[in-house]
Amino acid sequence: MYKNMIGRKSEKVKNMVERGHVRRFVESIGDPNPIYVDEQTGEKSRYGGNIAPPTFPRVFDYGRVEGLNLPKKGLIHGEQSYHYERPLLVGEEIYCYTEVEDYYEKSGSNGRMGFLAVKRYGEDTDGNVIFTEKMTTIITETVRRAMNV
């Protein structure tokens, strides 16, 4: 079921790196550094403004891939990676979309598990890619059986 999803993409969705959201996010990971939250520090920095931390794209909306339905429960987050051209700036607009990169199955001690690899993109208003994100989700055999995939 997931195999034929490989290569499918979502529509681009406009997101905003919101100041208040960045503040709440960095507080929740215990990293309220002035470069994220203090306007003066941001202005004096080489970025000319505040930035967002590398895992902030967790909050963005990447749109929906037509036909890709994931179970709400029973998923295991296996791997996560980010690649940046530069840090995200507070206040900027980022256009995000997602692409199903790969799906494969492997047998392990817990039965036959599915591995779904998804790549996500964040572009600036000129269409330059600012970051990409890869996420591998493990779907356990129990869940796969229940879903008939």
Binding site: H21, R24, F25, E27, S28, I29, G30, D31, N33, I35, Y36, S45, R46, Y47, I51, P53, P54, T55, R58, V59, K72, K73, G74, I76, H77, G78, E79, Q80, S81, Y82, H83, Y84, E85, R86, P87
Partner: protein
């Protein structure tokens, strides 16, 4: 604070040990990240999923680990950040964040990074490529 641009292979940034993981930490992260999977906040839901108790969001732990690099934003930025989630984090776990230099070139610092629990087990591990300015 160490001078990041002077670090050589085998040297490390200063470790950070976090306060014991609390339910409030995970409630706050659920809210700020939008990940409301109840196995991170509600005991009964975690038990129904076959877990001994609620577990931290992997992305909460990954977010925490990156703060080792935050003080160095004028010297460079995290260009690549790659993590494998290798163990679960439970309430009251005491986590220590670590980053060790693997290689230092003209343009980049390559770090091996990991978060270790109070039993000495890696809960997440991976790599950071820190791109230096100039």
């Amino acid at each position: 604070m160490k001078n990041i641009t002077r670090l050589t292979t085998g040297e490390a940034l200063d470790d950070i040990t976090l306060p014991p993981v609390s339910r409030m930490d995970l409630i706050k992260y659920s809210g700020s990240s939008g990940d409301f999977n109840p196995i991170h906040t509600i005991d009964e839901e975690a038990e129904k999923a076959g877990l001994p108790g609620i577990i931290a969001h992997g992305m909460w732990t990954m977010g925490n680990l990156a703060k080792l690099f935050t003080p160095y934003y004028e010297e460079g930025f995290i260009q690549d950040y790659q993590i494998r989630f290798s163990g679960m984090v439970f309430l009251d776990d005491v986590l220590t964040l670590k980053a060790e230099v693997e290689e230092h070139t003209d343009a980049y610092l390559y770090f091996r990074v990991r978060t270790v629990n109070q039993k000495g087990k890696d809960v997440i591990k991976g790599k950071v490529v820190f791109s230096k300015y100039e």
